[in-house]
Symmetry: C2
Subunit: 273 residues, 2 copies
């Protein structure tokens, strides 16, 4: 099979007699079920990705506990090459986890990538979806490039592009803008700014919110955006309870009593003005 | 297993005696090997997605020939529920395939979705990656929402977000801006505009080019962008010959004699100024 197709080399080459090439930074996608009932990994991850995850000994992760839970789930499908307890699982430094962590090559990260100098591949894993997209892992990837390491992104689900695909909004020009301000006035101002950007650049604007604030953000959107602006909401994509709906603000206003945004499921919001 | 986890219902329910619920529009991801040697589908698509593809009888596709080739490859892993010759495979209307097709609910698309009224799910498939992202399928998705149909995006690879993850550039704010102008002066102007946007919004700018123009675009980037701008190039991600590199423009200029961009492989370009 074709982990080879994704560039497998792994520990076998590293243990041969040949001079060791440096290991790579392997970006391992996670499922999209953070905070909900675990979904079957074969529903969201290619088999070759599960094989990769089973083979890596060195991990840099957003959260060690959820990383171990992920590897246990992998093990139930593709047995890990080494016992879970023997793996090196290191959390990213706290400073890199904040929303505003600067994305610059940083000596702080170079030592985290030290196993690559012994020929070991290092896996990067976030709590959901692709690492380094809408999460702090990019600093590690930047450090890998600064060290001249090969970076291997394994294919997996991204809730942002799934929501974009499902929205029917402009998919040939789009921006992900992160979180909106929490303060009411600033939030409305930002919504209008995003509408203006969307109109001027003909660009779909994508944003997210912490689940317990989903309902508040949705209410602000229906109050603050123009009636003709199209708004798409995607909730828990790839999960059994997942759904997606796109309508104009004025249509949503009529439907709103029937639309309840869950406060414990991840949602992605999109607008096109 | 858990195609159920992705909302499977398929033809079984439709053939029972119960009143038929309308079918859904199912967004089926394709591999990322368009124009190159076929990759193993299990390297890039989850098993549940292959099961979905094997089950659908009705397809709307960007290109019928490549859709049949895709379904043959699926069949080699998960046998199709009906012979390939018996499937309904309809190409999207030519008008929707142009880069500038308007993304609006359109009666022209409603009849393409007619099988849903008989309770049949309809698959949407593009030539590479996720449908309706950086391709014309969004018009069909918009029509599905206008008809009140459920839209089910199946998880799969997107070269744009894989390239973003692999770049180490800002992953919490990014924009995909499509193609750059081909004319030299306009292209340089656009490159500087993207740098200005990237600086002002602290936003990674992502763009693509037709493979045979990869080298010309790369040259223009190294000539037109500021020395400190970070440029990432991802070529043929998920394929054996795939690679990714990020460096500043001045670093790239020193390396450039060693860097040859292939003219037959898909590339994604990213910059952060």
């Amino acid at each position: 099979m074709s982990a080879a197709g994704l560039g497998a080399r792994g520990e076998a080459a590293a243990s041969s007699g040949a001079p060791r090439a440096p290991g790579r930074l392997v970006l391992v996608p996670n499922a999209l079920d953070l905070g909900t009932a675990p979904q079957d990994l074969t529903a969201v991850l290619p088999h070759a990705v599960l094989q990769w995850a089973a083979r890596l000994h060195h991990w840099l992760v957003e959260d060690a506990k959820s990383a171990r839970a992920f590897l246990k789930r992998v093990h139930a499908i593709v047995p890990l090459h080494a016992p879970l307890q023997s793996l090196s699982i290191t959390e990213l430094p706290r400073s890199a986890k904040g929303r505003d962590a600067r994305v610059v090559p940083n000596a702080e990260f170079a030592h985290l990538l030290a196993p690559t100098q012994g020929g070991h591949d290092v896996g990067l894993l976030s709590e959901a979806g692709l690492p380094a997209v809408a999460d702090p892992g990019a600093a590690v990837v930047a450090a890998a490039h600064a060290l001249g390491l090969a970076v291997l992104p394994l294919p997996g689900p991204s809730s942002l592009v799934l929501a974009l695909a499902a929205s029917g909004l402009e998919g040939q020009s789009f921006a992900f803008v992160g979180y909106l301000p929490q303060e009411a006035t600033a939030r409305v101002q930002r919504i209008r700014e995003l509408e203006e950007l969307s109109r001027r650049l003909r660009q779909t604007q994508i944003f997210i919110e912490t689940p317990y604030r989903n309902a508040a953000l949705f209410k602000a959107l229906l109050e603050g955006a123009a009636p003709a602006t199209r708004v798409s909401v995607s909730v828990a994509l790839t999960l059994p309870e997942g759904w997606c709906k796109t309508a104009t603000v004025s249509e949503w206003r009529r439907l709103t009593s029937k639309t309840v945004l869950p406060d414990r499921l991840p949602a992605v919001f999109l607008l096109q003005a």
